[in-house]
Symmetry: C2
Subunit: 284 residues, 2 copies
C-alpha cells in the first residue's frame, strides 16, 4: 500500500483528488484530515454531522493546519415539508448550512433536495421555492448551492431531483455564482443523455463526485463501489466534465458498508492506486 | 373479500383489468386463468416460462375456454451478448418468443431488453440492432414488439433502456404496428418528463402496466407494491395513457415476495377493490 500511495504523491494526477468523508465513514474529521496528509491528498469533502461532532472551529483549524482545501460541505436540502412551519424550519437549517460552509472555508454546499412529502409535484415545487429563497442568501456569502440530482431509486425518500437535465432546469433560473449542480457518476451514469447534459452544464458544475455501480448492487444505500470496481465508464464522465470547463477537485464519495470495515488508510491507498485508470482513463 | 369482488364484477371499471402472472406468481397458467374466472377478470398477461411449464397448447386452450384475452406475453429481449454467436442465439430465442405470442393469441411481446454485456454503449447498440432485425419478423406475424423502459436501478443487469424517451427514440425508427412501448408506472414514475413522453407515445403504447413504489423500498426486485400501497400517482398515468389514445387492457404486474405468500384469490380481490381509486382515480 505505501508504495502505491508514494507513486501518486506529488503527481499532477493526484492534485485534484478529494476524499469525501463518507468514503472513510468511521474516521472523524480530524482523523480524515490526518489520513489525507499521510496519503498526500489535498482536498476533503466534509459532512455537517461529522463537523458538528468535533466543532466547526476544530474542523477549520485541522484543515487549515494541514493545508487541505474543503471541496464541499454535505449537505443542505431536504426541502419538502408538511406545512409552512416545517418548510420554514428547513429553510432555517439550510441557512445554517450555508453559514457553516463559510466558516469551513468552502464555497460549495451540496444539496440533497429531499424525497416526497405529500405528493411528488408539490415536493418538487417546494424544492424550487426553497432554492429560489436561499440562492441570494448563499450568493451574498460566497457560497454556491450545488443541486445534486440523485439516482431515481432515491426519488421517494432522498431526492425528487433525479436527472441532470432537471437539476439544470432549476439551476438556470438563478445566477451561476449562486446555484450550480453536482455531477456524481453513481447517480447519473444510466441516463442516455448524461454526457450531453454535462456539456450543457458548463460553468454550472460546482462539484464532481466519482463512485462506481456494482453489479449486482449489494444494497440500495450502502452498496456503492470504489472507482473501477463497477460498470460505470467514469473516465468518460471525467472527460466530459473537463470538456465542460470544470477544473476543481474530484471527490471520491463511496457509501459502502464493506469499505467502511477496512482501515481508512488502505481505502485511500486503493483509491489513489486505481485513480489514473479508473477515474482519469490513463489506459486509453 | 367476496363482497369487494362482486362490487366490481360486470362494472365497466373492471373490463380492462389484466392479471399479469407475476402478481400471483405461485399460480400456474391454468390456476391463474381459473382465478381470473372466479374474480371476473377478463385479461391475463402470461410469462413464457409459466406457459412452457404447462405447454402452449394447454395454455391456449385454458384461456380460450375461459373466454379470457391474453394482453401480453413476457418476455423477449436480453439482447446484449458477447460475440456474434451469442447474439444470434438471442435473436433466435426472440423469434421463438414471437411465435409463442402468435400461438397464444396475443399481439404484444414485452421486451426486457437486457443489461450490460461488455460496455453500456455497445449494449445499447445491440438492443437497437436486435429490434431492427426482429421488427419485420414480428410484424409479419401480427405481433408488436413492446419495448419496456425499466427503472434505472436495473440498467446494469436487466435493461439498458431506462426512459420512455429512449424507448420511443428506438421505437419510432420502425413502423408503429411492428414496435411499440410499455408504459409501466413502477419503472417511469420518477421521470420529470414521464407524462410528456406518454403523450408523445400515442399509438406506440402497446401495453400499460400498473404497480406502485413502496417507501421505503423493501427489495430491489421483489419489493414492488400493489396499486395504492405506494407513492406513485397511478391515476395520473392512467389519465395520460387514456389521453394518448390507449384503450387496451391495464395489467397489474407486482413482483412482491410478501404478496406471493398470500392466496391468489385474496390478492386479486384486493386489486379489484382498490382499482377504481388507485388506478382510475375515481375519488377525484
Amino acid at each position: 500500500m505505501p508504495t502505491q500511495v508514494t507513486s501518486m504523491l506529488g503527481s499532477p494526477d493526484a492534485e485534484r483528488v478529494s476524499l469525501n468523508q463518507r468514503t472513510t465513514a468511521r474516521w472523524s474529521v480530524t482523523e480524515a484530515v490526518d489520513g489525507c496528509c499521510r496519503a498526500g491528498v489535498r482536498w476533503i469533502g466534509l459532512w455537517r454531522e461529522d463537523v458538528a461532532a468535533v466543532g466547526i472551529e476544530t474542523a477549520r483549524r485541522a484543515v487549515d493546519a494541514a493545508g487541505i482545501g474543503v471541496s464541499s460541505l454535505c449537505r443542505g436540502g431536504f426541502f419538502p415539508a408538511a406545512g409552512t412551519a416545517a418548510f420554514e424550519a428547513r429553510l432555517a437549517d439550510n441557512r445554517s448550512a450555508i453559514d457553516e460552509a463559510v466558516a469551513l472555508g468552502t464555497d460549495v454546499l451540496v444539496l440533497v433536495c429531499g424525497g416526497i412529502v405529500g405528493d411528488l409535484t408539490t415536493s418538487r415545487q417546494q424544492v424550487a421555492d426553497a432554492i429560489g429563497t436561499l440562492a441570494p442568501y448563499a450568493g451574498e456569502r460566497g457560497v454556491r448551492l450545488a443541486i445534486e440530482p440523485m439516482h431515481p431509486m432515491y426519488c421517494a425518500d432522498r431526492s425528487v431531483i433525479v436527472t441532470l437535465r432537471q437539476a439544470l432546469d432549476l439551476a438556470e433560473q438563478h445566477p451561476v455564482e449562486q446555484v450550480g449542480v453536482v455531477v456524481d457518476t453513481f447517480h447519473l451514469w444510466w441516463d442516455p443523455e448524461a454526457l450531453t447534459q454535462v456539456a450543457r452544464a458548463g460553468a454550472r458544475i460546482a462539484s464532481y463526485q466519482v463512485c462506481d455501480w456494482l453489479d449486482p448492487l449489494p444494497d440500495l444505500l450502502l452498496g456503492r463501489g470504489l472507482p473501477g470496481d463497477g460498470v460505470i465508464d467514469i473516465a468518460a464522465f471525467t472527460d466530459a466534465v473537463d470538456a465542460a470547463g470544470y477544473r476543481g477537485p474530484i471527490e471520491v464519495e463511496v457509501f459502502n458498508a464493506d469499505v467502511w470495515e477496512r482501515p481508512g488508510d488502505d481505502v485511500v491507498a486503493d483509491v489513489l492506486a486505481t485513480w489514473p485508470v479508473a477515474v482519469l482513463g490513463r489506459d486509453r
